[in-house]
Amino acid sequence: MKIGWKRWSVLPGFGLAMGYTLTYLSLLVLIPLAGTFLKSATLTWPEFWETITSPRALASYRVTFGTSLVAALLNAVSGLLVAWVLTRYRFFGRRFVDALVDLPFALPTAVAGIALTAIYAPTGWVGKLVPFKVAFTPLGITIALVFIGVPFVVRTVQPVLEDIEPELEQVAASLGANRWQTFTRVVMPAVWPAVLTGFALSFARAVGEYGSVIFIAGNMPMRTEITPLLIVTQLEQYNYAGATSLAVAMLVVSFGMLLTINALQWWGTRRHLA
């Protein structure tokens, strides 16, 4: 028996669970998000456009997307390396290191922000050793974003590496492939979707990141001001129209990235099954 959009089942509670889910989701997420878009609709188009393309906003996009891109690339490379080492090699303290990878998920971003600033400020442990300025420059922002993004690539690549059957690599070797050929022709094609997904996840997280960045950034308009901070600044000046316009621009970008990530994951599982 099939009624409309739901297949019949003996299990009870669908109405209650679904009703609760949809109500809660609508009240807390969908309606507030829709409210933001509606609020921006009360602005005139030139007003909206002028805000999101003002020189200061454009400069903040350059800083935000530039540092996020570099950080996500660094995370992709180092994340693959860490995932490889954790799944393939046995060494003392491996389980401890494995748990530590998730620290950036567990540590409040504000704590990460002040800790990184202390390390990379001109008088800090690392800041003192290097001949150039790290904190209060885009380089400092990138470092904070690398910290935040560490777990994403590691945790998406790790399960895929674990699932690759050893027979596959043995076959490659027995057919005369050297280790590098096996890695590039057998292992890499299998983990490539996961690396890309991890890269996209860490990029998406970096673009919206606030807490860990604002301490180390120095927050100079046009040079080290990220878009989320610009939104907060507008809000503190009671410029609600400006804050809303920038927020809508950011939401559109976030949703676009969410769709991309979903597509990547779908591609990854399809390749996995094939």
Binding site: G13, Y20, L25, L107, Y210, T244, L258
Partner: protein, 292 residues
Amino acid sequence: MTPQQIAERATTEPRWIRWTLIALALAFLALFVGLPLAAVFVSALSKGWAVYFAAITEPVAWAAIKLTLLTAAIAVPLNLVFGVAAAWAIAKFEFRGKQVLITLIDLPFSVSPVVSGLIYVLIFGLQGWLGPWLQDHDITIIFAVPGIVLATVFVTFPFVARELIPLMIAQGTEEEEAALTLGASGWQTFWRVTVPNIKWGLLYGVILCNARAMGEFGAVSVVSGHIRGLTNTMTLHVEILYNEYQTAAAFAVASLLTLLALVTLAAKSAVEWRVRQQLKAARHSHDEDLLT
């Protein structure tokens, strides 16, 4: 060389490459994860234990700790109930639009924390949709505790649901169907069959949800108004101290949050193993069904 050694050599790297890769990975993690961790505790104690204890026992710090605990105590159970309801509907039933619903539940993760706070300001703030009405009725949500709780619920929204959905999909519906056939009621089936099956996944989701609830900064900072002793959470208190150049005190409060993060990691790795066993057991029995 025995054939086995030859096979091993063909499928793993020479020893020097292995150790180079391990060293590189550890160096990266030490620089980006280990160093900040150490910096928190070293800076917290840089002025001695007396300053440390003064910083974490002053009344304003206590108010911040209490507010953080209160916020988590409201946000986590709310999202726990939601997560179970959503996972029950999604995993145990077949309906159209399931993927869309899963994506919508994940939505808060892709929104910038700052925007997560802002959306509530635009609804409940003075300039927001409901602002004038709330003011007429003397209800304050923004720059008050309710706003902080709302923003925290939003940023921790998907945690429990996204842990439970894959687990419950893997477990299928056979055990529940069997319980119902044997005469159990719906709620009995849920409490006696489903809950024991998902308890580790549930706990795992709660651990992650709680860590984020207590550590959230951006979203809370937008809705809080930073009123000392009233609407300051621990992370906001850290920010204020830091901006006032009370660095040791800022790191002292930050060290409490760091300890919480370390406890979270330990609990997470302890539970993770059991979640994997539960998932494996579910997949295994499913495979057996397919074979017979």
